[in-house]
């Protein structure tokens, strides 16, 4: 019996597939997949290949040595990489604002008055309205006592506390006032300034201070000043409590960082600034025609980023950095929650940012070196056999319900690849920047997560909120019970349901928010890229000329991406769905399967 193995080395995953050849017919026996070891196209890959072969063989009770021919893919010399570029930065000057979400402020309503510390209240007068500030050295009893003592002699309209004691103080006051607490840097607030304070009802957000004219009404400022407080009002939208302090130069400034320009060398050269946003960048790309290389302005963030990508690739591929070119970008607008500089209570602001995925092209990946090493170690024939996208299309054809012409979309980690195969066997293909890893990065940035790993898991698994020790509420709204009381550490947390264990998300973000960010990230990357990729390969660039699309690759395993694409392509009357390679493999193993299948059509020249 002759055993043939197909080996597909991807950016993330190395997949193998084993078949027996009998009387000129192939019988598929099994498959396996392992994480790719090292950068795709380097000798470090061999370890992963051997591991995958071993696993597949073990399942079949054979040894890797029995394989008579290994066919590995002629990997496209393109690798995806991702990076993030923040383009705005919000700065508070002169402590002019507090806007945060203490979990327990007190006494809903608005107040206007001059700022004064509790200790100085004695020196105040009876006619000025005051907003009193107390740091955490004063106990809530002291604070309340003092205020009650001055109830007649001073007109106190609101309070700012450093400690988390707003409710405690308010409960002891004879005259109720709104109180903002948990203001970390209270000592930075100047005294004697006019300030407006607002605490919203539980579950809602401030209404007066998030409106420039509301601030103007409370602080009696003129039109010019109203213009300067507009960024403050904007950054207070959605906050539970807020204070605006009238200081001569106090302001919130949104500063645009020098993000730099991108130069596209192409049929029609283009220049575009990063801060013009993703749409402008993608439009420049679309207008450029065939792209030779993309560079970034020197000494800018984007310039450094693109140079870094090229450098990394040149190290790996042993080529001159000049030979390395960037042939595609995907830019995506995003908002990153960042702590405002100069903030008094750890306020955050959503800064604009652009996420970028780049497609790096080198002359040739040294697949022959990998083949040599495999020959040496396994003492079998190894052949580098055929272009990745063609193999993927061949493999995808084994999905039931498909026919030629057939388009595949390979949704990977670094790149989204598309190929169209016609009944005559001609293939057009494209490699585009941006896939699963960009989605993961967007999730990480938009949710402000510490770990990339958490973002990757959020991408993959549905959410639930543990609402008691006995039950959780699933993302879909359904309630599920635990057979036994769960550990208290999960209580109140959002968790990921992996099917096996339950992963707790440490960050305190509402489940609905996480789900919305997750879906939007997938949509931004994959819907955009899928349409772009198919348009590039479609006959006459018209999607309507593609009858069916098979989704393959790791990101086609996603629990919602395939349906997003299916709904999108339904507009064009395209049949689109997750592939089911050889009726059994789902969207995985297309290239490895294609490599084996292509053996039959190949010329079978022995190569050692």
């Amino acid at each position: 019996m002759n055993y043939i193995a197909g080996v597909d080395i991807g950016n993330s995953t190395t997949e193998v597939c084993i078949a027996a050849l009998e009387n000129g017919r192939l019988h598929f026996l099994g498959s396996a997949s392992k994480m790719t070891t090292g950068t795709k196209g380097t000798q470090a890959n061999v370890a992963g290949i051997l591991a995958a072969l071993k696993e597949a063989c073990e399942k079949l009770n054979m040894s890797a040595g029995e394989i008579s021919l290994i066919r590995i893919n002629e990997a496209a010399p393109v690798i995806g990489d991702t990076a993030m570029e923040t383009i705005t930065e919000t700065i508070i000057t002169e402590s002019s604002m507090i806007g945060h979400n203490p979990s327990t402020p007190a006494g809903e309503g608005q107040a206007v008055g001059r700022t004064i510390s509790l200790g100085h209240l004695k020196q105040g007068n009876s006619y000025t309205p005051y907003i009193v500030m107390a740091d955490k050295s004063c106990s809530y009893e002291e604070v309340a006592d003092t205020l009650n003592r001055y109830a007649q002699a001073r007109n106190v309209t609101g309070m700012i506390l450093q400690a988390d004691e707003a409710v405690l103080v308010e409960n002891r006051l004879e005259r109720k006032i709104p109180i903002v607490d948990e203001v970390r840097y209270i000592e930075k607030i100047p005294e004697g300034k006019l300030a407006a304070l607002e605490v919203a009802m539980a579950g809602s957000s401030v209404r007066m201070l998030s409106n420039p004219y509301g601030i103007a009404t409370l602080l009696e400022i003129d039109a010019q000043e109203t213009k300067t407080v507009t960024p403050i009002a904007k950054s207070l939208i959605g906050k539970r409590s807020a204070v605006v302090i009238k200081t001569p130069h106090g302001n919130v400034r949104e500063q645009i960082l020098p993000a730099g320009e991108i130069y596209i060398e192409a049929e029609k050269d283009q220049t575009v600034n990063i801060d013009a946003g993703a749409d402008a960048i993608m439009q420049a790309l679309a207008q450029a025609g065939e792209i030779r290389d993309i560079r970034g302005q020197e000494q800018t963030n984007v310039g450094n980023m693109l140079a870094r990508i090229k450098k990394g690739m040149s190290t790996v591929s042993d080529e001159n950095q000049e030979e390395i070119r960037i042939t595609d970008l995907l830019a995506v607008d995003t908002l990153a929650p960042v702590v405002i500089s100069g903030a008094l209570a750890g306020e955050t602001c959503l800064e604009k940012a652009v996420g970028i995925a780049a497609m790096v092209k080198t002359r040739q990946l040294p697949m022959e070196k990998i083949a040599d090493e495999l020959r040496r170690q396994l003492k079998t024939k190894v052949k580098v056999a055929g272009v990745e996208a063609v193999m993927a299309a061949l493999g995808a054809m084994t999905t039931p319900g498909t026919r030629l012409p057939l388009a595949i979309l390979d949704l990977g980690g670094g790149s989204t690849d598309a190929a169209v195969m016609t009944p005559k066997g001609t293939v057009r293909m494209v490699h585009q920047a941006g896939a699963g890893e960009l989605v993961t990065m967007l999730i990480q940035v938009e949710l402000g997560l510490h770990s990339k790993n958490t973002a990757e898991q959020i991408k993959r698994y549905p959410l639930a909120k543990v609402e008691s020790l006995f039950h959780m509420r699933l993302e879909s709204g359904a309630i599920e019970f635990f057979p036994d009381a769960i550990e208290p550490k999960y209580f109140g947390s959002v968790v990921l349901l992996t099917g096996k264990e339950m992963i707790r998300i440490d960050e305190d973000i509402p489940m609905e928010k996480i789900a919305a960010v997750r879906r939007e990230a997938k949509r931004k990357v994959f819907v955009t890229n899928a349409v772009r990729a198919l348009q590039a390969v479609a006959p006459e660039q018209d999607l309507r000329n593609i009858p069916n699309v098979v989704l393959v690759g790791g990101s086609a395993e996603d629990f919602e991406i395939p349906e997003m694409l299916m709904e999108k392509f339904a507009e064009y009357r395209i049949v689109c769905g997750r592939g089911n390679i050889r009726r059994t493999e789902g969207p995985r193993n297309a290239v490895a399967t294609g490599l084996v299948l292509s053996y039959l059509g190949d010329s079978h020249v022995d190569d050692e």
Binding site: T104, A166, L469, P488
Partner: protein, 113 residues
């Protein structure tokens, strides 16, 4: 039996007053009502268990001497959610806050339980 007003129960026995004081402050700041009852029992586990069982909100605290425990309804006696011995002010506040957060279905303070 008449219906209780929804509140957290604190069952105490010979409790150190500063513990009680700070624990109550922790609950109060979170805005959840509580009721304190002097009990004849001595065992902090039993106090916390009974308090949780009898609270409409299913959240209870026991304080015996200088030990305090927080419990939730239907969790076996002795398996306290939190238990603090000779605690400082912040620990007491957190215990109180967490008995309230359990009710509000918010994450516990001092996350790494």
């Amino acid at each position: 039996m008449m219906m209780n007003k929804p509140s957290i129960f604190i069952y105490i026995s010979d409790a150190r007053t500063d513990l009680l004081h700070e624990i109550c402050a922790g609950i109060e700041e979170e805005g959840v009502p509580y009721e304190v009852r002097e009990m004849p029992v001595q065992d902090v586990d039993a106090l916390a268990y009974a308090a949780a069982e009898e609270s409409v909100l299913g959240s209870g605290i026991g304080i015996a001497g200088d030990t305090a425990a927080m419990q939730l309804r239907k969790i076996p006696k002795g398996q306290n959610i939190f238990k603090i011995v000779h605690p400082g002010r912040e620990q007491c506040r957190a215990l109180g806050a967490n008995s309230a957060r359990a009710v509000k279905r918010q994450k516990f303070k001092g996350n790494d339980v």
